[in-house]
């Protein structure tokens, strides 16, 4: 996927999420930023260096976990880590310490002697991500690093990333799993069809695009015609399957809720439960991409 007119700046010591549907241009952008491919025009400045003119200088200061698997089939897990550290010119003592640290942090102790070729996809991915922390870096690119990981390994990785960011690392992170981005990212950009369509903090994006809220009200069974009583209220759904459930989805959800509560109180209908569902980044993502596709069409 070609990318066009991307203009991004990532703050140091933060996690920047880069989100987009399949084929939106995320991996192409990562390949450009990591100097694997050169842009046809424009400038790329990484850590204060011109990435087009000095790609090697940039690469010496970054780490990259690419989306595709990468491994040495004949090496064991611990040997993979050790050799990767050697390739990055990490001195032997530091290398050995880091191997032990990463084997523990990524729960690889039990498989440390097993060859990469004999690992499951998820185990290989863990080794691939762990390996990147063998060397020092200022900026780490993670292209869908949690693909193939089980929930506990995924949470372990995200927490490890958070820890590293607290120590000063900057992360450029792409994922399809929006709650990961919500859990992790200080700022996110959404890309669609090669163009950036939104950039902000997750909370600001919710404020901008997430005015619609979902409110659920549950009532005991009643002989009163609740639907008839609410006939003049807009933007709600009613479901009588187990008791009476009202779901409000509206940009003016507070107004709608107030009206419904007034009507229910006036008719002596009690409320068993009331909950407000916060807007998720996933909903924002879907809205933003849908709007973008609609405006393109």
């Amino acid at each position: 996927m070609a990318v066009d007119g991307i203009d991004l700046s990532v703050n140091s010591g933060k996690i920047f999420g880069f989100l987009g549907p399949n084929g939106a241009g995320k991996t192409t952008t990562i390949k450009l930023l990591t100097t694997l491919i050169a842009p046809t025009s424009g400038t790329i400045n990484i850590l204060g260096m011109d990435a087009i003119r000095h790609p090697l200088d940039v690469r010496k200061k970054i780490g990259v976990v690419l989306q595709q698997p990468s491994y040495e089939p004949t090496l064991s897990v611990e040997k993979s880590l050790e050799k990767y550290g050697m390739m990055w010119n990490v001195e032997r003592k530091t290398r050995n310490d880091r191997v032990e640290e990463l084997l523990s942090a990524f729960d690889l102790q039990e498989i440390r002697k097993i060859k990469n070729d004999d690992l499951s996809i998820g185990q290989r991915r863990r080794v691939q991500v762990a390996r990147e922390f063998m060397h020092d870096m200022e900026l780490l690119f993670l292209d869908e690093p949690t693909v193939g990981l089980d929930p506990s390994a995924r949470r372990g990785l995200l927490d490890f990333i958070k820890k590293k960011v607290k120590e000063g690392l900057t992360i450029f992170f792409t994922t399809h799993i929006l709650n990961e981005a919500e859990y992790l990212c200080d700022e996110v950009a959404i890309i669609n069809k090669g163009k950036i369509i939104a950039v902000d903090t997750p909370n600001e994006l919710k404020n901008k695009f997430g005015r619609e809220k979902t409110i659920k009200i549950r009532m005991p069974e009643t002989k009163k015609d609740v639907q008839g009583l609410l006939i003049d209220v807009k933007d709600y759904e009613i479901d009588f399957n187990s008791g009476t459930n009202i779901t409000i989805r509206s940009n003016d959800s507070e107004e709608v809720l107030l009206k419904i509560l007034q009507i229910l109180t006036a008719n002596n209908i009690s409320i068993e439960d009331l909950s407000v569902m916060p807007t998720t980044l996933e909903e924002i993502f879907l809205t933003v991409v849908k709007n973008s596709n609609a405006s393109n069409n």
Binding site: L36, L56, L66, E72, K79, K83
Partner: protein
């Protein structure tokens, strides 16, 4: 440590496993000791310049060239595996350039070629020690042949690995090519006395030149013709190396 040395270290670690070393030693040993002695009943001696070599000595010296060629297969295998298992891209987003990657492969095959030649020389020495003639040219000629041959055949393996997508295709092409190189050469039998088309084909094969130079080194039989063969080896190695470097540097990511 220089990036190329680090990559060579990595290449040697992933390539020199037990299986490869056993294959590198056992396979030639079978040729030298089984075929070498079995064919003695048919081939009593092989004329070589102003000498007459017994067949085991002839084949043992031929196996040095054969082994150099075989060992350079790892160049193709390294590139092929790196592409297949994502390490090619991973290396190129690390502190390395394509030039580092290419040169590290050349150094790796040079080292493996020398080790391989040394191993077979050590193993074959009892067979050809009677005919060995150490002189000013001996060791340099064998080292020259090892390094030039490694670059030449390593480049061929690299070219094949950059052009083919499927593992089946890679294996079929590389095995067919190397089978031709092995048996249409003077590694196993002399060119003299073979039918004219075959002896001509021998000299279209760089392994023949490599083996001739190795033998000239071991048996102290340097001649003008061997000198021409050395020039041919260098020229062909340079051409193939240039092609493989261009293909590698244009390899799409």
């Amino acid at each position: 440590m220089h990036p190329i040395i680090r990559l060579v270290n990595r290449n040697l670690t992933i390539s020199l496993n037990k299986g490869f070393l056993i294959w590198q030693i056992v396979f030639p040993l079978i040729y030298i000791f089984v075929a070498g002695f079995a064919y003695t009943a048919l081939i009593h001696s092989v004329p070589f310049g102003n000498k007459s070599l017994d067949y085991p000595a002839f084949i043992a010296s031929g196996m040095i060239g054969f082994n150099i060629m075989n060992s350079t297969l790892i160049s193709g295998i390294i590139i092929w595996n790196d592409r297949r298992h994502g390490m090619f891209e991973q290396i190129l987003v690390g502190p390395f350039t394509r030039a580092h990657y290419i040169l590290s492969n050349i150094y790796t095959i040079g080292i493996v070629g020398l080790i391989s030649a040394a191993l077979i020389t050590a193993v074959g020495y009892p067979l050809f020690f009677k005919s060995v003639e150490f002189n000013f040219y001996t060791i340099p000629l064998v080292v020259f042949a090892s390094v030039t041959g490694s670059i030449l055949f390593g480049s061929i393996a690299s070219i094949i690995s950059t052009r083919l997508q499927s593992s089946e295709g890679f294996n079929v092409v590389i095995n067919t090519a190397f089978l031709f190189f092995a048996f249409v050469s003077t590694a196993f039998y002399p060119a003299q006395g073979t039918p004219e088309p075959l002896s001509t084909a021998f000299y279209l094969n760089p392994l023949t030149y490599l083996v001739d130079v190795v033998r000239a080194g071991i048996f102290g039989n340097f001649s003008t013709f061997v000198g021409i063969e050395m020039i041919v080896l260098v020229v062909v190695a340079l051409i193939l190396f240039t092609i493989s470097t261009k293909l590698l540097s244009k390899l799409e990511i």
